[in-house]
Structure formats: structure tokens, C-alpha cells
């Protein structure tokens, strides 16, 4: 994926703070935010910062990475089901690939996603790690 600084800048809030939306009419949560609510069709979606807790819904271990992610092999990408309901696609970090299972409790952290070349800009964003303390 090519270097696109304006895009990374535009998406910084949702990537650093896991901000999506909550429908003001029906209360449905969305990640990412979208123009029209999937549940009721309402167009009044308010920014919502997710608590960042959930569990692994499905997962895959990457042994061959797309360009830009080779340094992380092997790494785990999961569908994480957030406590508020939505699924989010994210890497699972701070874990051995073999220890990830469906149902694993996880929490959000901000980590490096990728670097564009040795001296290029670094892109940061949400990842999830096994939950450290029961809260």
C-alpha cells in the first residue's frame, strides 16, 4: 500500500482512539463510523469512543505478508467482537500465534502498523492484546 500521508492523517482519531459512532436514533454502535445507520437508516451518528475490550471472534496467522508487513511475520489478524457489539479487524499483539483462540479476551493498544521504508514515516494504529486484568 502506497504512502498516503493525507489518508493516514485523516484516519488518525479512529486509529489512535478507536472512535466509531453510535446512532442517535436507535443506539446501534458502528466501527468505523458510516453515513447511514445499518439498523434503522438514521443519519444522525454521533462519535463514540469504544471501551476497547472484546474477544477474538475469528483469527488467522499470516506467514506470507502483503508488501509493507513482512517484518512482522508471523503475525495474527483477528476479527475482534467489541463489548458494544461491532466486529473490528485488527492484529493481535504481545502473544504467540499458537496461543490465540476463538473467545480469547482482548483489549486495545496503540502500536506501529508499518513503516514506509527505512527512513520513511511510521503509521500507528489500534491492535489488540490478550486482556491483562479482568475489569
Amino acid at each position: 500500500m502506497a504512502l498516503q500521508l493525507p489518508r493516514d492523517w485523516r484516519l488518525r482519531v479512529e486509529r489512535y482512539q478507536l472512535v466509531g459512532a453510535r446512532c442517535a436514533r436507535c443506539g446501534r454502535f458502528h466501527f468505523p463510523s458510516r453515513p447511514v445507520c445499518l439498523q434503522c437508516g438514521g443519519q444522525d451518528l454521533e462519535p463514540y469512543r469504544f471501551k476497547g475490550r472484546g474477544e477474538v471472534y475469528s483469527h488467522v496467522t499470516m506467514y506470507k505478508a502483503p508488501a509493507g508487513f513482512e517484518q512482522d511475520i508471523p503475525y495474527v489478524v483477528a476479527l475482534v467482537k467489541l463489548d458494544e457489539g461491532p466486529l473490528v479487524t485488527a492484529q493481535i499483539t504481545d502473544v504467540e500465534p499458537g496461543d490465540v483462540q476463538v473467545g480469547l479476551p482482548v483489549e486495545v493498544v496503540v502500536r506501529q502498523w508499518r513503516q514506509h521504508g527505512k527512513d520513511g514515516p511510521i503509521v500507528y494504529g489500534y491492535k489488540f492484546r490478550p486482556r491483562l486484568i479482568a475489569r
Binding site: M1, Y63, P66, A67, V77, P86, T89, Q91
Partner: protein, 389 residues
């Protein structure tokens, strides 16, 4: 044929080049070969419009604008031409747009072409190009490949329904067995269950034998209206149903991860248009880009209950002798998956079956065929119902 055909859209010509690694041949070479073959089959030497299904030429061949390019190189400079893109469903979508063009009465004869040249880039661009079928900002951006998206589906499916690797092996084995009689298939040879179980893992749980191969290919169809079909007097195949359904690009925004709503909508609309129930369909050329997609497509199209589709492989129900044969000439797995061309190959194969010209792959008494071409992991789904006339 003294009788005239009833109103509708007919396939009167088809052409295909063998799917494989065509190192000596360019995108335009493959396209022209398939187009000329289809027009020769139809016995025609003019065309109103050319629709080209393609996904990856802008990334892998640094070439867009294929409508005019192929019109020119095929000897039809001046003819209307356009590229149709819908990720891996580009070929099926080109057929859909050709159907609309003829059915509307604007054109009487349209060539629908699918072409893909995947082997020109050798540095990982192909995987990055395929990932563009997914949601760039929320899937590819976190390091997910297209194979991995299908692995997420397969993992969850195995978790929820208790399906095993052997269950999926049956779908790969069926595809390879069916490809054996297809001269245009990339892998026309059977595999056994051990070959599947020992195949290298690509993105756990998906292994090499769950996956369709990267390939070059081109296939073409000549579509005409009833009057032209009657005049040509060729053995025609009628397109009695044609429909598209869509869903979110990303997996995480689906209503249900394992129930493909785009497939359900597309199949229901196409069957409704043709006035057919699923049990009236004699065979399905479905989109087995990965074995899990074959299973999910069978369920969402109405050929199995949700959570039960995986049983159809080992039970032999999807074999050519079974209740609902799929991928009768090898499918994406063994014929090969030149992505933007695949939807047109499916229709060529279905038309061969309905004309009784499928050779060693021929089904006995096939009258109604379904083709289903899927873009991404189910975001665009194009379904057609084809009938022998």
C-alpha cells in the same frame, strides 16, 4: 431451425483460451484470441459493442482503457467499448451489463469478454492487487491479505459447525476430478485427500489446496437478441435469469459473518427472474476461489441449510453424478482463476454443458445451469441462469 426464438437474450458464440501461465502472450493477445474464437463460433463478423471484464490490468499491467484497446486490436476499431470492474466478479458483471445492453434493445449483438494477465508482475504486486477487493482502510491497512480474509471465514465456520479439513478436502478433490476432461483447465488432474491434507499452509487454516491458482486467461461470449439468434440459426443458450446482489466490502460489517447476504439476494433474484426453484437447477458453476466460498455459496444460494453445506462434499452430492453438481469443468480451483475473466469462463462452461459439447465433462440431460461469480469475500455477487433452447 424454422421456429423463431422467443424474446430474450441468447448466447450464440463462445471462446476461451486455456487457463495457465502464458509467459509469451500479452493481455491483448489473450483477449483477441478469445474474442475471435467466440465470433467464429457464432459465425459473425461484426459487433455493436464490446464489454471487457477485468480487475487487475491497472495494477499489474499498468494498463486501463481496455474497451478501446481490445476493440482496436481485434480489428473492430470504432466499435463501442468499455471496461467493467467489480473485483473478482468483473467477468460476471460484464455479462450482466451485456445482458442489459441487449435486453434493453439498445444493442443487438454484444461481445462480452473477460481477460486477466496475472503473471506479468513477479514481486508480490499480485497479492496487493487482489487485496484491493477488500476494504482498503479497514482490512488491507492492518495487514490482511485476500487469502487471510477467507481464512477468517473458514476458521469461524469450523468453530461453529464442526467442519473438518477432510470435509473441505472433498470440494478440492471434486474440482480436480472434474477438471480432468477440460482441455482449457490449468490443473486437469485428480488429487487425493492426502495431497490436500499435506499441502502447505498459506494462511492458517487455508492451505494451498483450498485455494484457486493465480493464472492468465481470457474467455468471450457473443450475446444477441431473439431476432438475431433466429437469423443466425445457431445452437443458442438462453439467459433466463440475471441479477446482482451486494454486501459490505469488509467482513466485519456483515449482518452475519457466515451467511452471505449478497449471494442470497443475487441467487434469489436470478432464480425469481427465471421462474425456477433451486431444486430445478441441474448444475452450478460456483465461485470456489477457496473451498470455504464453495460451502458458503451453496448455503446462501439455497442448495443447503446454513451450517450444513460442508456435508455436501463428502456425501458426493456436488459431484457430476450427484444431486447438485458444481464446478463441472474444474471450477476456480482446478480450471484456474484468472480473476476478471473467471465469470465469463463460468458462462462458457455452462453454455458448453447446455449445448451438449462439454466432452468428457458432459452432464447427462443438463437443461438449466446457474453461474455465480463473486467479488471480494461476497461484496458483489452476479448470478445468471442459463437454459438450453
Amino acid at each position: 431451425m424454422g421456429d423463431s426464438y422467443p424474446e430474450g437474450v441468447y448466447i450464440v458464440g463462445l471462446g476461451q483460451v486455456p487457463v495457465g501461465e502464458h509467459w509469451q502472450r500479452s493481455l491483448r493477445d489473450l483477449a483477441v484470441d478469445a474474442m475471435h474464437a467466440a465470433m467464429a463460433d457464432a459465425g459473425v463478423n461484426d459487433v455493436d459493442a464490446l464489454l471487457v471484464g477485468n480487475m487487475l490490468a491497472p495494477t499489474l499491467s499498468e494498463q486501463q482503457h481496455l474497451g478501446a484497446l481490445v476493440a482496436d486490436w481485434s480489428g473492430f476499431r470504432g466499435v463501442e467499448g468499455a471496461t467493467i470492474e467489480a473485483a473478482c466478479a468483473s467477468g460476471g458483471m460484464a455479462l450482466r451489463q451485456g445482458f442489459i445492453a441487449v435486453r434493453s434493445g439498445i444493442h443487438r449483438m454484444v461481445v462480452v469478454l473477460g481477460v486477466e494477465k496475472m503473471t506479468d508482475s513477479v514481486n508480490g504486486c499480485t497479492a496487493a492487487g487482489l487485496a484491493m477487493a477488500a476494504d482498503g482502510d479497514y482490512e488491507a491497512a492492518v495487514g490482511l491479505s485476500f487469502v487471510a480474509i477467507n481464512a477468517l471465514l473458514m476458521r469461524r465456520y469450523m468453530h461453529e459447525h464442526g467442519a473438518t479439513r477432510e470435509d473441505f478436502a472433498a470440494f478440492a478433490a471434486n474440482a480436480h476430478r472434474n477438471a480432468a476432461g477440460n482441455p482449457c483447465a490449468m490443473f486437469p488432474r485428480p488429487i487425493d485427500v492426502d495431497t490436500y491434507l499435506n499441502a502447505p499452509i498459506i494462511a492458517d487454516p487455508i492451505n494451498l489446496m483450498d485455494s484457486s491458482p493465480v493464472a492468465d486467461g481470457a474467455a468471450a461470449l457473443v450475446l444477441v437478441d431473439a431476432q438475431t439468434a433466429t437469423r443466425l440459426g445457431k445452437k443458442a443458450v438462453r439467459i433466463s435469469g440475471s441479477a446482482v446482489g451486494t454486501d459490505s466490502l469488509s467482513l466485519h460489517e456483515r449482518r452475519s459473518l457466515l451467511e452471505l447476504d449478497g449471494v442470497c439476494l443475487s441467487a434469489r433474484r436470478a432464480l425469481g427472474m427465471a421462474g425456477k426453484r433451486p431444486d430445478e437447477v441441474d448444475f452450478v458453476e460456483l465461485h470456489d476461489a477457496f473451498t470455504i466460498m464453495a460451502v458458503l455459496s451453496l448455503e446462501a444460494s439455497g442448495f443447503a441449510e446454513y451450517g450444513e453445506g460442508f456435508r455436501l462434499g463428502r456425501a458426493g452430492e456436488v459431484s457430476r453424478a450427484g444431486r447438485i453438481p458444481i464446478c463441472t469443468m474444474g471450477g476456480l480451483k482446478a480450471r484456474g482463476h484468472p480473476v476478471g475473466a473467471t465469470g465469463v469462463y463460468q458462462a462458457v462452461e455452462a453454455a458448453l454443458q447446455l449445448r451438449g459439447e462439454a466432452g468428457d465433462c458432459q452432464l447427462a440431460g443438463a437443461k438449466v445451469g446457474m453461474t455465480q461469480n463473486i467479488g471480494g469475500s461476497g461484496a458483489t455477487v452476479v448470478t445468471h441462469i442459463l437454459e438450453a433452447v
